[in-house]
Symmetry: C2
Subunit: 87 residues, 2 copies
């Protein structure tokens, strides 16, 4: 069993109105000095695969086909062995 | 200038219907062996602060007051020095 942590972020240059809203809200709460907030998605995927090469290939394909929108988003992920469920 | 990477995830035991929907969609796309998908939020915050202790204190307060809902979510973050904007 493996656990992938997937990070999906907007490509540089893509507007992030949610991040701008958070930056404004932080300022309204009195947090000074916040220059930029960029938002993204974070997913933890637990999956079975024979070895690290296979899990890497499959998670990359998941990102390209479903988890990220390659037109405006980029993704990265890291992998770690995971214990069986319930352990 | 510092960059904080903030990860907000549901607490253990909190239902994650979006993650379940993604798991189902991965199965429908032919990805076998996906046991669980948990979704979360990922934010990159660039801010000015005098030193690492101050930025750590401020980002922790941002998480508690705005970025995470402490009733159902937990958060963690890491910090790194960041270059000035445009560099």
């Amino acid at each position: 069993m493996w656990q992938a942590q997937v990070f999906v972020t907007f490509k540089r240059g893509v507007l992030d109105p949610q991040g701008e809203a958070i930056r404004g809200a932080l300022g309204a709460l009195g947090f000074d000095g916040v220059e930029q907030v960029r938002t993204g998605k974070y997913m933890q995927v637990r999956l079975r695969a024979a070895d690290e090469a296979e899990v890497r290939r499959r998670v990359d394909e998941m990102c390209r086909r479903l988890l990220a929108n390659p037109v405006i988003e980029e993704y990265r992920f890291d992998l770690a062995p995971a214990g069986e469920a319930g352990k």
